[in-house]
Each structure stands twice: as C-alpha cells, then as structure tokens.
Amino acid sequence: MSTQRQSVKDIVTAPAAGQAALLQALLAVQDASPENYVSEEAVNEIAHLLGISRSRVYSTASFYSVISLKPRGRHIVRVCINAPCENAGKQAVLAALEQELGVGLGCTTPDGRFTLEGVSCLGACYMSPAIKIDNQLYGDLTAEAAVAIIRRCREEENIGHTA
C-alpha cells in the first residue's frame, strides 16, 4: 500500500507531471478567458510555469479542436455535424442557427456573444440532432426549438447584466 502511495507521489511530483498537466492547464485557462481562448501570452506563461517549450504548448493547443487559439464569443454553440445528427435533421437546425445568429460555422457574432462551431460528436446520438451551448446539451431539436434556445440565452445574459 505504502509502495503504491509512494509511486503515485513520484508520478505526480515528477518533472514529467508538468507535461501531463498541460492539457488541463490549457482548458482551465481557456475557461477563465472572457473570450473563450488561449492567448499567445497565456501560451508563453503556461510554458514558463510548466517548464516546457512554447512550441510544445502550442502543439497540444493546436491539436485539440476543443481549444481555441483565436478569440471567440462568450458562448460557444457547438453543432454536431456527424452522421446521426445529419440524418435526424441537423441541416435545418444549423440553417436556423446561422440565420438567427447572422454568422456561419466557425464565426463569431459581431456583438462578441456567440461563436458557432461544428463538432464531430457530442456523445448525444440518442437525442439527435443535438447542439451544446457552453456546457449545456440540447437534443431532439427542431429549427424553431434551436432559435428559441438562442433567444433564451440572450435574455438570460441580459438579465444577468442588469442585475
């Protein structure tokens, strides 16, 4: 038992742990960013703090689509573009979202509120077509339902601002 505890301690305190912490650090820094991204300055600081090269931090950040190296809106609207959602009516949902937000996939609304992204799978095939706004999943959508969700988001944010 104590041997195992020792080895766990060795692992988590070894210099290599800094590299293992990289992905968590990138995600946490992105979450803390009002613009939902990891800035170049943050890449440099993570590298410095974890004792690894900037190039390695950038490598990991640029590999994962969940991490953005460019500023995004305050809310990320992720639309599943994979086969099950496609078959269940994703096209109508996406078209409605694009019209309501006034931007296409990969773009941010001029007010900096929403970024619309396509993702490969949300793990919600049982409720396709599905989208995810920040950490909240929405499924079995229609075009009208998707538009209603966006409008509700706006209202909630407006209330939050005035409160």
Partner: protein, 579 residues
C-alpha cells in the same frame, strides 16, 4: 554482461544481445531495414512506418524500430506483403512531396530519394497533394522549406531533447501537421540559436544551411578582390567524407591544395587565431582571478552557445569571455595586420571562412563585428557547401597532393587543432595557463579528463598550489544544466567550456550528413591524432602568434587587442512575463 538471445531472421537462427530493437538486431546480421524517422542517436518515434516487418503470430506488420526483439521471435524483413506495404507508404509520402529532386539542395544525399531508388518507384500513384507554404529565409544561417517536410520528427527531437532549445515541434493535426516554431513564427522571431542540428538530422531538404556558395564564387571571380580563406579545425577531419572517404580521415594537406585550386589568394588557418584565442582568453582568466572579476569564466567560441546564453541566461553574460571567436579574430586581423603586411587596402580583402557550423554565418553578420572598419568575415561556407563548391570546380579531392597553409596566418599548434572537439578549448587553455602561472613545463600535455562524449565533464587542475575546478559541456541541454547551477550559485567552477553542438564543432550543424555518435568518435579520434602529430602543442609556443604580439598587438589584453579581438554581448531575451 548482456544476455544473448536467439531469434529467427528471414529463416536463419541468429544471436544478438538482448534489449535491441528488431531494426538494430537485424543490422548486426547484415540486414538493413529501411527507415526515415529513425536516427541511431535519437529516441524511437515510429511514425514513418517504412521499417515494417512481419513477426510470426502478429496479425499486423510491426515497426521494427519500436519492437524489441525477443527470444524465439520469428521475423521476416522481406516478403511480398512487406515490399508492397513499404512501396505504398513511400508513394503516399511522395504524393505529398514536391517533385523537385533535380533542383533540391539534398540532391545526392536525400534519404527519401535513396529509398525511392532502392524500391524502384517509377510512378506516384494517386493524386499529388503538395503544399505551397512560404519558405523561412529569415536567418543568415538556415532555410526551412515546410513543403518538403515529411514530418518524421527528427528535427523536433534534436531541438527538444538534445539541444533543449524547444523551437521546432509538430503542430496542428492530420493533413495539416507542420513541424515549425509556434504560431508559424519564423526562426528569426523565436529563440533559435541557429546551431543547425535540425538540418544535420533532416532526412530530406526541409531544413538546410543557407547556401552562400554564389557569394564566394562572385568574390573569387572578381579580379579586384584579394580573397583569403580560413579553415576551422573541425573541417580537416570531415571534408573527406564529402568525397566518400571514411569519417576520421585527416585531410589537412589536401584541403589546403583544394582551396588553392579554387583560386583563393591566400589559404590561412583558423587554428592560428585559435592559438591567439588561448593567449587572450587565458590571460583574461588570469586577470579575472587576480582582479576578482566574474567567475566562472565561460568560453565564447561557439556562436550557437553565445546566442543561446543571450536568449536564455542574459544575466550570466558577464561570465562569458569577451574574446571574439577564432573566426572573427581572424577576420579582424586579416583586414588590419595582414592587410598592412601585404600592402593591400582592407576594402579589397574578402574573407571567406570554411566552418562546420551554420551559426557561424549568423555570427559573421553581427553588426558589431567590424572593428577594422570593415566586416570581419565576408562569407561563411559550411563543410557541406565547401564539398559542393569543390565538386563544381572539378577538384578531384582524392587525387590531391598535400600542401601547407600560407604564412603568417596559417601557422598553428596542436592546442588549436583540438578546438574542434568538446573539451579541446579547455585542454588548450590549461596547457598554456598552467605554464604561464607555474613557470614550469607541463609534463603531460594531455588532459584526458576533459576528453570524450560524456555530456558534462569536470576536472581539477593544480595551478601552483591553487586547485582550479573546470567543467566542459557540449550540446545545449548539458549547457543548460551547468548554467542552472551557475545561476543558483551552486557551481564552484573557475572556468567552463561550452560548445553548442554534441561532440563540439566536429558534430556541427554544417558538417557532412550522416553524423552519429559513432562518426563523432571517429572525427574526435582523428582530431587528437592531428594534435599528437604536431611538433608544437601549446598555443604560447606558436611563433607566428608571438610575432603578431611583437609586431602589432604588443601583449594579450592590450588596447589594440581589446579593440580588434574582443566583443560585447546583448540581452536577447524575447519573452517578458507579466508580474
């Protein structure tokens, strides 16, 4: 004692030491398995898949570089399935590789092209899908052509795990992968030291020295120019490799003949100013010891190292010797001392260096390197470029007779010859400092404790009753470990030698392709043979250097020495963190 195991290699039972990869085990028995990402000095990457073999009992082909051989294993390296697979893999790589082989700088020594020849690739099936990314020509030393990159990862490995400079790494995903600095930055915008170790291990033409041969031809073809050439110590033990001779061939005499055939007006030797460096740096060390100057003193011959400390440890710059490198001292003297003696206007003198090094190109273009009123060194060619220019001139290197360097900047000692290997500058300095301090003749000139390929070497030398502790590091990863100690105040060294490249200059980024630790050892061994074969082996015994002081410089660290032979460094720290 390593255990021996037997396994079946293409139906034959063979014995090998346990713990080898299939690729290395097969090589011991005359089977060369093709590979691209594999490099004998590097960790396993297993991403090119060209080295696949059949292992009985395994459904899929195994990457032989990454699969350890085990007792009783049955391996087949040559079968219709393997040939077909390797051919397909090569065709896929070619489909993403510009078909510019005739005009590529690696024409003649490209590892991918060699495999194409070996496997008889006559057409690239499927569609060509090459990139049209911009070239990085931002530095005086290296050119990066991302379109030719096969993403093998050798450069990233040497940049991150040997040099630990952390510049090149794999970015993005899938078909978009690029091996580059972060954010697509150019090499001049990051803390790249231009050591060229990436170029030395690149199997193709994706990163290579900036070719300056045209500049040298232009000078040689200009009758108004008096073109003098200097050759670094490490080139004489490697240039023969460019003409197919074995690593470790000493070719000093033939090299001088070859340079004369090219039409240089004078063929001089960087070894002369290596001896001069020892006089200046040795006295700088003594001066710092006596006057309480910054210690440890750290050598400044290696321009990759100097750029590294300027980027990474600028607060330690007062420790770096103010001596210019031998290359730059040579240029400054060629355009003053030599110009005066020969009665030539220094404006008409064109100084060419032949260096094992890509960072020397950068060093020669530092704006402060012009104490004579003219740029010290006008053009720098790497060993590889010299090989090309000699071939263009039709010089049959193997058939040349020996000849000797010109006077006066061509006279040198064994102490200068060993500048080309890790530990060499230290050993040369100790040979002179010992005799200057003690006034006694050194009984044995060979300081074996600072020799060899161990990453960090230490020795303690008794200087007239005072023990002086010295350290030697080669490869910037090792340099970093020593610098961390110095910064933390934990290093009790008096003098430190650092060379940016593993093995020292003989392993420089501009040396002939195929450098491995085995080749480094052969070049090192040859270098020590050059030293042992010379009558004079201590820099202070160099009669031409003594004459230079008598006629021109007066004494080490004189005012004119300081003006011409010493320099200043700058803080190149790129990234300032808030707080």
């Amino acid at each position: 004692m390593t255990e021996t195991i037997t396994f079946s290699l293409n139906g034959q039972q063979v014995a090998v030491p346990a713990g080898l990869s299939i690729l290395d085990a097969a090589a011991l028995h005359g089977v060369r398995i093709p590979s691209l990402c594999h490099h004998p000095d590097q960790r396993v990457k297993a991403n090119c898949r060209v080295c696949v073999v059949e292992v009985e009992g395994q459904k899929n082909l195994a990457a032989s570089c990454a699969t350890p051989v085990t007792a009783g294993m049955k391996v087949r390296t040559n079968s219709p399935r393997i040939r077909e697979t390797v051919q397909t893999i090569l065709e896929l790589i070619f489909a993403n590789h510009p078909q510019e082989c005739l005009t590529c700088i690696r024409n003649g020594n490209c590892e991918l092209r060699r495999l194409a020849a070996d496997y008889g690739i006559r057409e690239v099936k499927g569609e060509m899908a090459t990139d049209a990314l911009p070239l990085d020509t931002s530095t005086p030393s290296l050119v990066r052509d991302p379109n030719k990159c096969i993403k093998c990862g050798r450069c990233a490995e040497v940049c991150h795990h040997v040099q630990e400079t952390g510049i090149l790494y794999s970015h993005y995903r899938s078909v978009d992968v690029q091996v580059a600095p972060e954010y697509g930055k150019s090499l001049s915008d990051v803390a790249c030291v231009l050591c060229g170790q990436c170029a030395a291990v690149c199997p193709v033409g994706a990163i290579h020295e900036k070719d300056d041969t045209a500049l040298v031809w232009e000078a040689l073809d200009d009758p108004a120019k008096h073109v003098v050439v200097q050759v670094a110590p490490a080139v004489r033990v490697s240039i023969a490799e460019e003409f197919g001779q074995a690593p470790g061939t000493i070719a000093t005499g033939r090299l001088v003949s070859a340079l004369r055939k090219l039409g240089f007006d004078r063929v001089f030797d960087t070894d002369f100013t290596a001896d001069l460096t020892i006089m200046e740096e040795g006295h700088e060390l003594l001066h710092r010891l006596q006057s309480g100057g910054a210690l440890p003193l750290i050598t400044s011959c290696s321009p990759g190292w100097v750029k590294y400390i300027e980027h990474s440890y600028p607060e330690l710059l007062p420790h770096v010797s103010t001596c210019k490198s031998p290359q730059q001292m040579f240029g400054a003297l060629a355009k003053t001392y030599y110009a005066g003696k020969a009665g030539i206007d220094p404006a008409d003198i064109f100084v060419v260096s032949i260096m094992p090094c890509t960072a020397k190109k950068f060093e020669s273009q530092r704006p402060e390197m012009n104490a004579s009123g003219h740029q010290d060194v006008d053009a720098v060619l790497t060993t590889r470029e010299l090989g090309r220019i000699l071939k263009q001139a039709g010089v049959d290197f193997a058939a040349l007779d020996d000849s000797v360097f010109d006077d006066p900047l061509g006279i040198s000692t064994g102490a200068a010859a060993i500048f080309g290997v890790t530990g060499g500058v230290m050993e040369a300095a100790l040979r002179t400092v010992y005799e200057v301090v003690t006034g006694q003749e050194l009984e044995s000139v060979e300081f074996t404790a600072v020799r060899g390929l161990q990453g960090i070497k230490e020795a303690t030398v008794d200087l007239a009753g005072t023990p002086v502790k010295v350290a030697v590091a080669h490869g910037l990863g090792n340099a970093r470990r020593i610098m961390d100690l110095v910064r933390a105040g934990l290093a009790d060294y008096t003098f430190i030698e650092i060379m940016a490249c593993p093995g020292g200059c003989i392993g420089g980024g501009g040396q002939p392709y195929g450098t491995t630790d085995t080749v480094r050892r052969q070049r090192i061994e040859a270098t020590y043979r050059v030293d042992a074969g010379l009558a004079l082996r201590k820099s202070h015994q160099n009669p031409a250097v003594a004459k230079l002081y008598a006629e021109f410089l007066r004494q080490p660290l004189s005012e004119i020495s300081h003006h011409l032979l010493h320099t200043k460094y700058r803080n190149r720290s790129l990234y300032k963190l808030k707080g």
